[in-house]
């Protein structure tokens, strides 16, 4: 875990309120686990004060280049979107535990389900899985056509279904409607998106899986207990009754924590 000023090498709007940024620096070489995140200090000084968690979307180990995709929500992400190539951003990371892939074997199928800005971390995951020879069923949910991103990139890695709530692109409905249409079995699913979506995916899924949570964070490193979630009864055993999304997660085995 390092804190480093990363250099912005690209900044581009790729959908409605959605930006893609590339950053480079030494710490990028440690970012090899999909599902991990970085904690960004968007401005010097106090406005805003706290760091912002953003998932690692892709890493080019050779050029030490990190890609993130983010939606402008409030002050922090808005300021981030105003940064320019050759500005720097102070980055703490990589943080957290990512998506486990070791258990997947060549020829097996993985289901990836992402919603909105939950989609980006699945891209790096998809690349890792595809490189291992895993077949990918990918379902990406957005509100509307203007919100869609990464569709083409995912298509190079597996079978992609896009769903939109208004039907303006792909299947009309939610990611679970996409899941209902799936006709191939899968050994593991991986999902990231808003909490209601995660709940729905967990209910619909037909295998074991991994969910990536979004919690409000303070420290991002496990010290402040801002981001805890309760462990499900049947997962507690002797251990702690809670998990920290920032350091024990953000990825958990589906069912481990109550969402």
């Amino acid at each position: 875990m390092i804190v480093e000023d990363l250099l912005i090498t690209e900044q581009k709007q790729i959908a409605d309120n959605i930006f893609m940024m590339k950053l480079t620096g030494n710490s990028v070489s440690h970012m090899d686990s999909p599902g991990q995140f970085i904690h960004l200090k968007v401005a010097d000084g106090i406005d805003p004060l706290l760091r912002r968690p953003i998932s690692i979307c892709d890493v080019d180990a050779g050029s030490q280049e990190l890609k993130i995709i983010y939606r402008t929500e409030g002050k922090g992400t808005k300021q981030l979107s105003e940064k320019k190539v050759s500005d720097t951003v102070n980055v703490l990371g990589p943080l957290g535990e990512g998506f486990p892939t070791d258990h997947m074997e060549r020829g097996e199928t993985a289901l990836l389900v992402g919603g909105g800005v939950g989609v980006p971390p699945l891209y790096y995951l998809a690349k890792k899985l595809a490189a291992k020879g895993i077949d990918l069923q990918i379902i990406l949910g957005f509100r509307s056509e203007k919100d869609v991103f990464l569709e083409e990139e995912f298509k190079k890695l597996g079978q992609v279904t896009v769903t939109t709530e208004d039907g303006s692109r792909g299947l009309k409905g939610y990611v679970t409607d996409g899941m209902a249409q799936l006709d191939v079995p899968y050994q593991t699913y991986y999902t990231c998106g808003p909490t209601p979506m995660l709940r729905a995916v967990q209910l619909s899924a037909k295998s074991e899986g991994y969910v990536s949570l979004e919690e409000r964070m303070g420290c991002g490193v496990g010290a402040c207990l801002a981001c805890v979630c309760d462990v499900a009864e049947d997962h507690i055993g002797e251990g702690k009754k809670y998990r920290k999304a920032c350091s024990d997660g953000p990825v958990f085995i589906a069912g481990e924590v109550i969402i």
Binding site: R51, R216, G218, V221, A223, C224, A226, V228, K240
Partner: protein, 313 residues
């Protein structure tokens, strides 16, 4: 010879900088970033008799110049802390201050008694000011008589010096300070968080599940400085100052206000290296400003120049 060393009851510190309770866990997380031996001391998260699950999430919210938190004193309880957390800290050669909380006086007394007999516990910090627990806590922090009684009882059982952490949410901070000093407190910690709230205008509801939370960060620094300035002039016991420290000049400001050492809270979240960086910066600033002994500036804002160096102040 420049001196950063500060000696307070129970605490022999190589520099006046320690992390603030609740912002540093039990040390392990930030121990992965740097050697905790660089710190002047360490203050760990509040400990209660039994394990506490804390409040529902969201527990934090950002506000202008600071943050709100309502962790709700989540901690693994006295037993676990004694067996697992404190032993881990034994390998470091720095004083350990344990923050103690509870619902009723007996809780505080029990936990303080147990903890104060553990060999690497250097001092107890009585958290009578946590705004995020419904029972106890805040009442102790706003009534000088109850605070004094609690202090007296804890002092009676404690084997180590007792610091009382004051709440800023009171009409008369000087009265509170005097009351606990008279009851035997060895030192004061000031300030805990101000009670605040943020409402999400989209939902119309408070952002924090607990509704109210404790305001920390730069926003509260002027309140902390004022309270330490006022209290340090009327008590003889030393003050550990905190509330919005983010740079070395902030540390100097706290010392000049009358604190003898400082604690760093929210700044750790902004920069995990905040404490060691501040210690380095502080040493540089002392050079630049020609401060030879860090103790020499304590209370400078209200002391006439001749009297500046003294035992605690």
């Amino acid at each position: 010879m420049k001196n950063l060393r500060v000696v307070l009851p129970g605490l022999s510190m190589k520099n006046p900088v320690m992390p603030a309770s609740g912002c540093f866990g039990f040390g392990q997380e930030y121990g992965r970033f740097y050697d905790l031996n660089e710190l002047g001391a360490i203050t760990v998260k509040a400990v209660t008799t039994d394990e506490r699950p804390g409040n529902p999430t969201p527990r934090v919210a950002e506000v202008d110049g600071g943050m709100l938190n309502a962790i709700g004193l989540q901690n693994p309880g006295l037993d676990h802390v004694t067996k697992h957390e404190l032993p881990w800290l034994e390998k470091f050669d720095i004083p350990v201050i344990v923050n103690v909380a509870g619902n009723v006086m007996e809780d505080y007394i029990h936990v303080s008694k147990q903890l104060s007999s553990i060999k690497n516990v250097s001092a107890i910090e009585l958290n009578i000011s946590c705004p995020n627990v419904k029972v106890g806590g805040i009442q102790f922090g706003s009534d000088p008589e109850i605070a004094a009684e609690l202090t007296r009882k804890v002092k009676a059982v404690s084997n180590v010096p007792v610091y009382v952490k004051l709440s800023p949410n009171v009409s008369d901070i000087v009265g509170m300070a005097k009351a606990v000093e008279q009851a035997g407190a060895d030192g004061l910690s000031m300030i805990n968080t101000l009670v605040g709230m943020k409402i999400d205008i989209k939902t119309g509801r408070p952002v924090i599940a607990n509704k109210t939370g404790g305001l920390s960060g730069p926003a509260i620094k002027p309140v902390a400085i004022r309270m330490i300035h006022d209290v340090s002039q009327v008590v003889k016991i030393p003050i550990i100052g905190m509330g919005g420290i983010h740079c070395a000049d902030d540390i100097l400001e706290f010392l000049m206000a009358g604190a003898s050492a400082v604690a760093i809270g929210t700044a750790n979240f902004v920069d995990p290296f905040a404490c060691p960086n501040l210690i380095k910066e502080l040493s540089q600033r002392m050079d630049e400003l020609g401060i030879e002994d860090i103790n020499s500036i304590v209370g400078r804002s209200w002391r006439s120049c001749e009297n500046v160096t003294s035992s605690w102040h």
